[in-house]
Amino acid sequence: MATVIGSPATSAPAKRPTARRSLASRMSWWQPVAVFAVLIGIWYTVAWYYDKVQELSFLVPYPHKVFESLFLDAKRRPDLFEAIGNTTAVMLTGLVIAIVIGMTWAVIMSQAKWAERSLFPYAVILQCVPILALVPLIGSLYGYGFPSRVIVTTMIALFPLVSNTLFGLQSADRAQRELFKLQGASRWTVLTKLQFPAALPLIFVGLRNAAGLSVIGAIVGDQFFQRGAGGLGVLIQLYNSRLQGSDTFATIIAASLLGVVVFLVFGLLGRLAIGKWYDFN
């Protein structure tokens, strides 16, 4: 919270949109826990149905079996950790490339209206391309291993970085731009001293979203490109094909947890970078 120093008569708190509630105020611990309990209950019921009625228990295993596989099965653990490591490597590589391409793209668009008008539609088109449609092409061009997984990840993660960086760079208000203009500041100076710092809040929001998408991208990439060091997606398919139901579920949960961790880490990164002057949630 902003602390206001000075006499009450002169205080006018910093402008903040009041409609935006913080993420923290949307979160409480017991309500999600209650929902979790209900979901586990439903899961047990469904699992019981598949076990006793259908007699295909590997399709929906009991929750405690999944828990055992996830946390207690020492035999499986090296495979799981290796897959998490590989997925993380694909995800981070793809994300870094997306950051470099996305921010460069946005900076170019921010320099002139015509550049924005010419280039922004392609960002939207990229967002609309069904990745699945490109898979055969990516595969035959770049093989079925690491590079192709990274390409898919980059493509999925790129859009929020392009759009958030662009909108961020344009977010400095007119008077602030004129302040620089009056001193004859160059484009580069305006970009580095005004537009870029002003863009950071939106850039970090974009980065967090892109990071979340890059986890999806890395796992989706695994589904298509099965060669080389496999990640969580490869592992899920492997267990699924061997009818190892509880292991399949455990790996899916591990993948979800990876997504949550990535979301939290990038949120924290944003708070560390700009939390001092911006209420970053």
Partner: protein, 263 residues
């Protein structure tokens, strides 16, 4: 309605005539925006050294446009606007501080943009911060300051340029009355101490009379000058002057001129 011939180059600035007392000279300045709106028309205005000129007028009368032309942010579509100095301070309606910079770093900004060495600009900023009474708040971020304090920081930022001509675009319009009066006093003190010439835009008649040596009244769209008043009160000004009959009488006259020009 009125025919306009775009003639002269809009704005010229020179520093070649230090002998002249005139810092700002508007001759028959008109401003027509590309959409056809005529914001200003036939404006003659000078600001000399030692003068503090305030422009009052109804909203939308082109007061701010006047200031934007003087600063070079826009150029007049007709007439000449001459500025005889390149040390111009400009205070915006908002404090326009950069939220990621501390007060100190914000005040240093303009010197930084002019390539002043970090040590020198720190010293300059320190001096300006002391002048506006923000000593002790150097390390604060803008969001930790009140509106009045933010405006002080904004003033300090312009002071680092050591302006000869200081342009103010309704800087205290958003502040409450107590803060505004206090900042008026501070501004007068700075005016006496630093001896810059001022061109101040406001819609408050009493603020205009209290601050200035000359009050210029503008009419509604298209903006033109209706009447000019010389303010007889001496500088430095006693805050209590606001409660004298002479002050009230002048405020009344200015208000009257403002009403007449607004139909």
């Amino acid at each position: 309605m009125l025919s306009m011939s775009v003639t002269a180059p809009a704005r010229s600035s020179s520093t070649a005539t230090p002998t002249s007392d005139v810092l700002l000279d508007f001759r028959n300045v008109a401003m027509q925006f590309p959409n056809g709106t005529i914001a200003l028309q036939g404006v003659d205005l000078t600001v000399k050294r030692g003068e503090f000129v305030t422009v009052v007028g109804p909203s939308g009368c082109g007061k701010s446009t006047l200031l934007r032309i003087a600063s070079g942010l826009e150029s007049a579509s007709e007439g000449t606007a001459t500025v005889e100095t390149n040390r111009i301070g400009y205070v915006f309606q908002d404090a326009t501080l950069l939220p990621w910079r501390t007060v100190q770093a914000n005040v240093e900004l303009l010197a930084e943009l002019h390539g002043v060495k970090s040590k020198d600009r720190a010293a300059k900023a320190k001096e300006a911060i002391d002048l506006v009474g923000l000593t002790g708040f150097e390390k604060n971020l803008p969001k930790q300051l009140s509106g009045g304090m933010r405006m002080r920081a904004s003033l300090a930022r312009s002071l680092t340029l050591e302006p000869e001509l200081f342009l103010f675009d309704e800087p205290f319009g958003a502040l409450d009355e107590i803060t505004r009066e206090r900042l008026n006093d501070e501004l007068l003190r700075l005016f006496v101490e630093k001896q810059f010439a001022g061109l101040f835009i406001t819609h408050s008649v009493s603020e205009a009379v209290y601050l200035s040596t000359k009050v210029v009244v503008m009419s509604g769209r298209p903006g033109g000058i209706v009447k000019t008043f010389d303010v007889p009160f001496s500088m430095p000004r006693d805050p209590d002057i606001r409660f004298t009959p002479e002050f009230a009488a002048l405020v009344g006259e200015v208000s009257h001129a403002l009403r007449e020009g607004h139909h």
